[in-house]
Amino acid sequence: MAQLLQHLINGIAAGTIYALVALGYTMVYGVLKLINFAHGDVMMVGVYMGYSTAFLLGRQAQSTPWGVLVIFLVAMGGCALMGFLIERFAYRPLRDKPRLTALITAIGISFALSYGFQLDIGFLPGSAPRAFPQIIKPAQWFTVGDPEFPDVVLWNWQVISLMLAVGLMVGLQYLVYRTRFGRAMRAVSFDHRVAALMGIPTDRVISLTFMIGSALAAGAGLLYAIKDTSVSPLMGLYVGLKAFVAAVIGGIGNVPGAMVGGLLLGLVEEFVVGYAASTWRDAVAFGFLILVLLVRPGGLFGRVAAEKV
């Protein structure tokens, strides 16, 4: 029983991260219909930015509320800028070209970032993982059994991450469906040329969406690094992939879908490892994805676009 509870906590905590990364994926996909394969790597870069900031702040300052805020702001701002640049120079020129071409530039950027950060030249960190500082002092918020050697633990950052994720999801959902900017985003996503005829500054909308998506990636990445206490150049690769899977499970382009998809994926993986064979985790995760898609071809929350003949 205690174990079940612990698995539940772990699964939700892992799923939260998938969900957070998936939110950014989904945002970008939502407007550009582009699987932004570099998303995970942008996240990785964001974490390194946060890492350096924490390092510069020093041990004392980094774990004060202000320090944490600064770390998050620097990472998110830096990534927003990077997202802007990537969109501006690698995706925008290809906007009216076949969709796959932008996918290739995304892959190129992903390679450049993930391999580039393995170099040991200049400011680049080299391939070894680094321990990410505990900027949020871990505290047990709930335990079952002996508090020294608890059977079940719930940590403060687990709750904080989840609340942040839910908050972000609600905020994004509001942004997309209730604001003018959101309406513009959705218009741009269907046809940016016609959207421009409505007076929507499409370039700006797309840039902004990218910046939001990248900032989200950085934020998610920091929470991820706090949770798993390390940062490495390859961290973006698999989290990126899993987050993409989560987004698809939920219905890509759909904000609550990303959230639910992420949590489900986290839980499925947790329970496969906990109660079945841990070696089959990835296979089960993808099997779950395929199953969901076969039953609902547009993902859980997605709608297959009604195409009228």
């Binding site: 513009a184 959705r186 046809d191 959207a195 421009a196 005829l197 929507i200 500054p201 009604a306 009228k308």
Partner: protein, 251 residues
């Protein structure tokens, strides 16, 4: 191509100038779609653009509304040079374009489509009033307010496109084949409504296959052939011209 080769029929009524297209050239890669089109639309004027398939009517509208960047020539709108300006910068200056193929947003509801038409406006009341007005123009849209625009019938989509264009309160309305796929009654209604719209001071540049309808409606008309204006004149004068009757009216 110089003006000299354009066959002019009749006298043009004077309108204060609003849009002037001067020798505009457009190409799609190797294909040159417009070889130098010159035309004018005055304030409050309705101008029709007719021509065979592929003559370049749509391309002209696209160049005017900023969807395409001309490779040559000049476009002035409301006294400003807008050659090559981005589409979204023209909307606040009073340009609205209901494009060919309608360009509705299929996964948004009818209502959201209409709201996007008023994207740059901030007067909630004005918008609400105009919204009501479009519902009286096209009652069908009111019934289908909540439906996804992509599942509307062809004609309904056309209505939506026009209504949406009007919601930005334009000075100049560019319409690309508004009667395409519409029931005769609806076509008639739309043109009647367009008359009212025009009467309220909106200029219209209209592209239409139905030359009869268009020239009857327009103050002035231009005939486009393979990317060039070959003939121009007041609507009625064009309608009476034997060449037009033969080429476009099948007589």
């Amino acid at each position: 191509m110089s003006e000299a080769q354009v066959k002019l029929l009749g006298e043009r009524r004077e309108f204060p100038s609003l849009l002037a297209v001067d020798g505009v050239k457009v190409s799609y890669g190797a294909i040159q779609a417009l070889k130098g089109v010159t035309l004018k639309v005055g304030k409050g004027e309705v101008v029709a653009l007719i021509g065979a398939n592929g003559a370049g009517k749509t391309s002209t509208l696209r160049a005017v509304s900023g969807m395409l960047k001309p490779v040559g020539g000049r476009i002035t709108f409301g006294g400003e040079d807008t050659t090559g300006a981005k589409a979204h910068t023209l909307v606040p200056r009073g340009m609205a374009h209901a494009p060919e193929g309608r360009g509705i947003f299929p996964n948004l509801t009818v209502l959201e489509n209409l709201e996007l038409g008023a994207y740059l406006r901030n007067d909630a009341e004005g918008i609400a009033a105009d919204m009501e007005k479009s519902y009286t123009l096209f009652p069908r849209l009111k019934d289908r307010r909540k439906q996804l625009a992509g599942t509307l019938s062809g004609g309904e989509q056309q209505m939506l496109a026009i209504a949406r264009a009007l919601l930005s309160r334009p000075k100049l309305l560019l319409l690309d084949e508004p009667s395409l796929g519409l029931a005769p009654q609806v076509t008639e209604t739309i043109f009647r409504n367009l008359k009212d719209v025009n009467a309220s001071g909106v200029s219209i540049l209209l592209v239409e296959q139905n030359a009869h309808l268009a020239l009857n409606f327009a103050h002035y008309g231009y005939v486009l052939e393979t990317g060039e204006v070959v003939m121009a004149g007041p609507g009625k004068a064009l309608l009476d011209s034997p060449e037009i009757r033969k080429a476009y009216l099948g007589e």
